[in-house]
Symmetry: C2
Subunit: 439 residues, 2 copies
């Protein structure tokens, strides 16, 4: 269970935030049972050794960055799942990938909605630890909306069970919800009870391109004001061209923005809703807009949107932002980001889960060019400042981790930071759980 | 703002749990601003005076029972609301009734789903404090699923803002969710940001009566296994007859159980789903079952179900239970309750939000008959013991309050109790917030 081989430790030094400040862990542990997780944490608690919990290592905010002298506790070998079709719930261990959970429940005709773009490679435990989102959240909510219960190992090694397979449970404090999104700073999740839905109906898809960013954001507000799409995604000109370079789908390279909108209303109502969205795009000034009820064609456009990050990444390493704003401020955010890109002379591509106001500005930079790298990092911070000034959040779905913690006080203020620290100190008085993350 | 008139204080002694152990408060305060709430709590904190927060006083677990030497802080005068149709959110103060929130947002074509049976008389602040449920939760979830943010006054009088009108926000701990359902033990909510949905489509309604409890629970499981009804309510024979005594609707007095099931799928899909539910009822052995697409007729059956509690109450004062179980155990719970009623020789009527496994056994007793009263209270506890033994909860939606706190450790265990106390002590070190509730 305990690994100290430097080559293997090296592979666990970083997550996908590639934090240059990553340290080298004392050891890697890969427990196979909750009892082993308890034993490790109990030992670490007694010896005051910090622990960095790690799922699949796909985090984008550095929440799993290894620290000098710490244990890395990987949940990758905790991989059980059982599905209960009557209560429509699944009990899963944290090391399963999101896609594995989706596939296992689909075999029973059920659906686990949350769908981060990384769903094929990210773990369900990491999803719960960061309260991960995705593309369907605009209609179906985020991870916390699907977590009914959990088993979690506390800082002293005690394993507790919270909640359970009950759609309603008002007994005691909402502890389950507190641990979702706590990024490994309050406990280590060893099991989750997830709420499931019946299989998603077939979707109708609308694809539209726009001559200006303003036309695109107008269409977004018109759509969300009229109905709840099952997906409403945005790519800017840079992303469109980067995707087209790779996939040759015939996307309009001249467009300032592209929307992919979907409806999963039952039967022909998906088409009705798609037509409303199509009309909204046309009214907002779309240069081209069409609807398809072909699942494969619709999925191809969603895949194109999911492929935007790797496609833009071909231009150079990315600083991946995750800021969100209340929907009416989306236009201000997108235009403000363009202004920051001009001012700092860096390439920033904006893709977005537009329907819930959650954007991913992708800042391209050459880490070997110190001047450009500095400008990119300045832009990274300025985008968070901008989101905060618009009443938004520094992170919609990736978490604070280590990369964003300097901005958290600016968003939530000193009193909420004090409250956060009070809870952290009460639950982890020796600060051994993921030190340096969030706080 | 401060009231010490004994007559007025008397009216604030109890909530609808009618706890005989209610005390007489030092004074009643009815602040009109958050600043006043802060001032009161700061004063109470300095002088170590306990505070019992109170919404509309409709709580059923004694969470608002006045205590000797305490201040009762009523939120009834905090009544502002503003609706944002673009982000589809409402910012509301806690003193508004649930029905007032529903009506205000309906004027904008929007819908606030959570619908406790008491929605015309319970406050939205109390709903958040108890994580209240209702009839539509089987499809639409409970209060916490609709709370995106809040302003809350902490035990030292500091007012903090948590979350906000953002569908996704992963910045920091999930503090908003921790305060929902904390029953006034961690802070006093002075404002809520609520997520809203587009107006609910018209519903199709199925009403079915069953010769046995088993037939009824078979139908419930068949329905929830096939689709997500927008409502799935149950009344037993006692409730049917009590309602029929009052309303003369022509309900089948011979039936062992009655289900009211609804679908709000768009357009004719509501009818399709209703037909699936109708067939499930017939297959499970319904003596009579019919579907109506008439909104008024459907609403009449829902109103009958909501009227069950007052109707049964005509037989005598009630001990109102709120136990829930995972759905497959619903039959065991209902049959076990009948067994407890026989053994203790008390009348217990069971009504239920059947689709989410949340039942309300109504224990009729004469408080002036000490022997019967004792048997009723024994049954009250035995029903909770039964629910716990079936993997259930002692409270699905009413909260623990003071009436159920003796059973909370049996449900969650000593480690979760210790965790709960750690958080309580950290956030309210002098124990001034709603002492004696939950813990």
């Amino acid at each position: 269970m305990v690994v100290t081989d430097p080559d293997i430790l090296g592979a666990y030094r970083q997550d996908r935030a590639f934090d240059p400040a990553a340290g080298t862990a004392l050891a890697l542990v890969r427990p196979t049972t909750t009892a082993q997780v308890s034993a490790v944490v109990r030992w670490a608690h007694e010896h005051r050794v910090p622990i960095v919990p790690r799922g699949a290592g796909t985090g984008l905010s550095g929440g799993s960055t290894a620290q000098h002298g710490a244990l890395v506790l990987s949940t990758e070998k905790l991989r059980d799942i059982s599905v209960d079709t009557v209560t429509r719930t699944a009990v899963v261990q944290p090391g399963l990938l999101n896609a594995e959970v989706k596939r296992a429940v689909a075999e029973h005709g059920l659906w686990y909605p949350p769908d981060p773009s990384s769903f094929e490679i990210c773990s369900i435990g990491g999803n719960a630890a960061t309260n991960a989102g995705g593309l369907c959240c605009v209609k179906y909510g985020v991870t916390t909306d699907y977590v009914l219960g959990m088993e979690v190992v506390l800082a002293d090694g005690t394993a507790v069970r919270l909640g359970g397979p009950r759609l309603k449970d008002a007994a005691g404090l909402s502890l389950t919800k507190l641990f979702v999104g706590s990024e490994g700073t309050l406990g280590i999740i060893t099991e989750l009870t997830l709420r499931l839905l019946p299989a998603q109906p077939p979707q109708s898809t609308v694809v539209a391109t726009f001559p200006t960013l303003t036309a695109a954001t107008d269409a977004i507000l018109a759509i969300t004001g009229a109905l709840r799409p099952s997906m409403l995604e945005f790519m800017d000109s840079v992303a469109i061209n980067a995707v087209e370079d790779e996939l040759r789908m015939g996307l309009d390279r001249e467009a300032a923005g592209l929307l992919v909108a979907r409806s999963d209303a039952p039967g022909e109502h998906a088409g009705y809703e798609a037509d409303i969205m199509l009309a909204a795009c046309e009214k907002a000034g779309a240069t081209e807009a069409f609807r398809t009820d072909d699942e494969e064609e619709g999925e191809a456009f969603c895949a194109a949107r999911r492929f935007a990050i790797p496609a833009v990444e071909r231009k150079g390493p990315l600083l991946l932002e995750d800021v969100g704003v209340p929907l009416p401020r989306l236009g201000d955010l997108v235009n403000g980001i363009a202004e920051i890109a001009r001012h700092r002379a860096v390439l920033i591509s904006v893709i977005a889960h537009a329907g819930d106001g959650n954007t991913h500005p992708l800042i391209v930079h050459d880490p070997n060019n110190p001047d450009e790298s500095e400008r990119a990092h300045l832009a990274f911070g300025e985008i968070m400042d901008l989101a905060i000034s618009l009443g938004g959040t520094i992170t919609g779905e990736h978490g604070v981790g280590r990369l964003k913690k300097a901005w958290l006080p600016d968003q939530v203020g000193p009193d909420v930071m004090a409250l956060t620290r009070t809870i952290k100190n009460a639950l982890d008085p020796h600060g051994i759980l993921n030190p340096g993350a969030v706080l």
